[in-house]
Amino acid sequence: MLNLRETWFISLSALAVAFVLVGIFFASTGNSAMEVFYSLYRGAFGSWFSWQNTLVRAAPLMLTALCTVIPARVGLIVIGGEGAMVVGGLCAALVGLALAPTSPMIVIAGMALAGALSAGLWIAAVGALKYFRNVNETISSLLLNYIAIAILNFLVVGVLKDPATLNNPSTHAIGEINMIGNMGSSTVHWGLAYGFLVCVGLWILCRHSVFGFAADVVGGNLRAARLAGLPVAKTLLWCCFLGGAAAGLAGMLEIAAIHGRANNSLNAGYGYAGILVAFLARQNPLAVIPYAVLLGGIQASGGLLQRVHELPDAAVYVIQGIIFMVILSSELFYGKFKWLQGKLDQGKT
């Protein structure tokens, strides 16, 4: 199982190495690395405005990351967060429209339920294909993304189109009154709280429940799990469902907190960025939170990098790519340093 001391040490060292490499990259662009780092800091965490900018970007990433994290507990590599988010957002918008005349509480609850349920089933289908037909879950979830986006485009341009949205085909709006507002006087919407709570909730489920233990056993050794009499199919499908449901909630929040209607903006790449967060967090639902904030911060400061240092937008991808590669490579070092293994944890990694 996890060894906290080792995890902290290796993760932080990896981040430090990554930042050195990123610094070299900045220097190679003809900028002073320290100045660019200062801009990164200023754009991401330098002021209350920057913090809000960072947090609002982190919110959807927390939820879409879980779409990869939870199925990974049972050993599946699912990259269908984008599609799940689109499906969840679309279904949430439909339910929101249907319930719009009732009260805002009912609309929000209905939308959340619809988003989570539809996207949960969407990713559960990936699990079912894997379990019953042995279809590779990575490929099927990726392909389902394209199907989800095609369905969205088809419906939004066709039967669901609000005729007034001429040049940006969208569904009808759920109405200002039914939308989720911002937290207090900040400009960060309540979606951040949803993301935080779902991450914590699923972490508790993974770490402190029989279900979570069963999932880890299934992920660790499928045959052993079967021999032990664990409900393998059920565990696997539930994990896929929960992951999909989290991404579906992200889609619902895009509709309920930002757009007010479903359109092509649902497919903005949060699902793919979530995969990055999931791997950085080493498939730990709790670690998703800080890494989502880190990635949100890098994206938030991307604007300043462009405006102050005249770096192209691709600089953000280079930074993300370097961090991603270094953290993945750091996996090699787990269990390699004796002095990092606590007495209790010896031999357990």
Binding site: V56, L166, N168, P169, T187, G303, Q306
Partner: protein
């Protein structure tokens, strides 16, 4: 919830208020003017896409030459909350007074939300139709009648095509796009009524793979002129060049991508408009909330003709440009049928360029092979 439709009366009134050059409406956008004017530009795609975003970047670059103005920009900003945060960041961290969020999808809800939160900042949006009854006073919109130079492309294509089959690769069946397809086709058929235009919708503003597939499959069908309306014309024009057929550009001058087969193209001329906005702000003049213009107003232009264009085609195209400039050109003049045989513009009816009816187009003209 914004409808981007004005009532016809409002629109005509808006157009009538200022006759020459830019058309403005009744009220005007408030602008602070202290020290250097800082303007912020936001693009949905890369600055160097040979297309929609590059056209705006070129407009922004023209401002960089003015010593009394400063322009900052940001590329690849998606139409999500990130667009709002980019606007806020430009306002808070760069002190931007005027913002140009250039993608259509930025308007609702993003610009509307930010305009409410920052009433002292001016938001000028490309593509939308500002409506006094619905939209804040510190918001404005501008757009160009790019279908005019597209019509000119159609004339040249009509003269140059030997197979009498043209191809149009389009993103989505929305009014702006359909109008370009129809203009292109009407122009070509005014040269030779036997000409047809085959249209393929890719379903996305930027999907290079599908655009290349569509281009190749159209060329396989024996078409000999290709044009497009997607964010970047690069793939379509390069595919046409590689397969040895003609192409017409869109958004920017893409002649360099197809030295042999490039005919002409429709281009934005944002540098003129952006410079005039900057001058209005410097001089403390009121900025009109609604600006529209075509070849006459110099908001759009025709790319220089390619080497292969014949003198006859050039002469005909130049004549059409002249008609657009002097205002005598009416593209939508009855009788016009759609490609299902329904009469959409009756004999004796004509729709002027500024007619709002044209901005809700949902049909393809006779001679277009394809469905909406």
């Amino acid at each position: 919830m914004s409808k981007i439709i004005l009532s016809r009366r409002e629109f005509v009134y808006g157009c009538a208020v200022t006759g020459v050059g830019l058309m403005g409406t009744l009220s005007s956008v408030p602008v602070m003017s202290a020290g250097k004017i800082t303007m912020g530009f936001i693009y949905v795609g890369p600055r160097d896409d040979y297309g929609y975003n590059q056209a705006h970047f070129e407009g922004k670059s023209a401002l960089a030459k003015l010593d009394w103005a400063k322009a900052v920009d940001e590329e690849n900003v998606p139409e999500t909350i990130e667009a709002q945060k980019t606007m806020e960041s430009m306002i808070n961290l760069d002190g931007t007074q005027v913002l140009f969020p250039t993608s259509f999808g930025y308007f609702d809800p993003h610009i509307l939300a930010m305009a409410k939160r920052y009433p002292k900042t001016t938001f000028l949006h490309c593509g939308g139709l500002w409506d006094a009854s619905k939209h804040p006073k510190n918001v404005g919109s501008y757009f160009g009648y790019i279908d005019e130079p597209v019509y000119v492309s159609g004339i040249v294509a009509g003269y140059m095509s030997k197979s009498k089959k043209l191809g149009f690769i389009a993103a989505m069946p929305i009014p702006q796009v359909l109008r370009n397809i129809n203009n292109f086709t009407l122009a070509a058929r005014s040269v030779d009524p036997a000409i047809t235009t085959t249209v393929v919708f890719t379903g996305s503003w930027s999907n290079p793979v599908k655009e290349a597939e569509a281009a190749n499959s159209l060329i396989d069908q024996g078409l000999d002129v290709l044009t497009c309306h997607v964010d970047s014309p690069k793939v379509v024009v390069e595919s046409a060049e590689k397969r040895g057929i003609y192409s017409c550009g869109y958004h920017t001058n893409v002649a360099a991508l197809a030295p042999k087969g490039f005919l002409t193209g429709a281009e934005w001329n944002w540098s003129t408009l952006y410079t005039s906005y900057a001058e209005m702000i410097r001089d403390g003049k009121a900025i009109p909330n609604l600006v529209r213009g075509g070849l006459k107003e110099n908001i759009v232009k025709v790319s220089p003709y390619g080497a292969s264009v014949t003198p006859v085609a050039k002469a005909a195209a130049d004549a059409v440009i002249q008609q657009f400039v002097d205002g005598s050109m009416v593209v939508y003049k009855g009788s016009i049928k759609d490609n299902k045989g329904r009469e959409v513009v009756a004999t004796g009816t004509q729709y002027m360029q500024t007619d709002i009816w044209l901005e809700s187009m949902d049909w393809l003209v006779e001679g277009v092979v394809g469905t909406v």
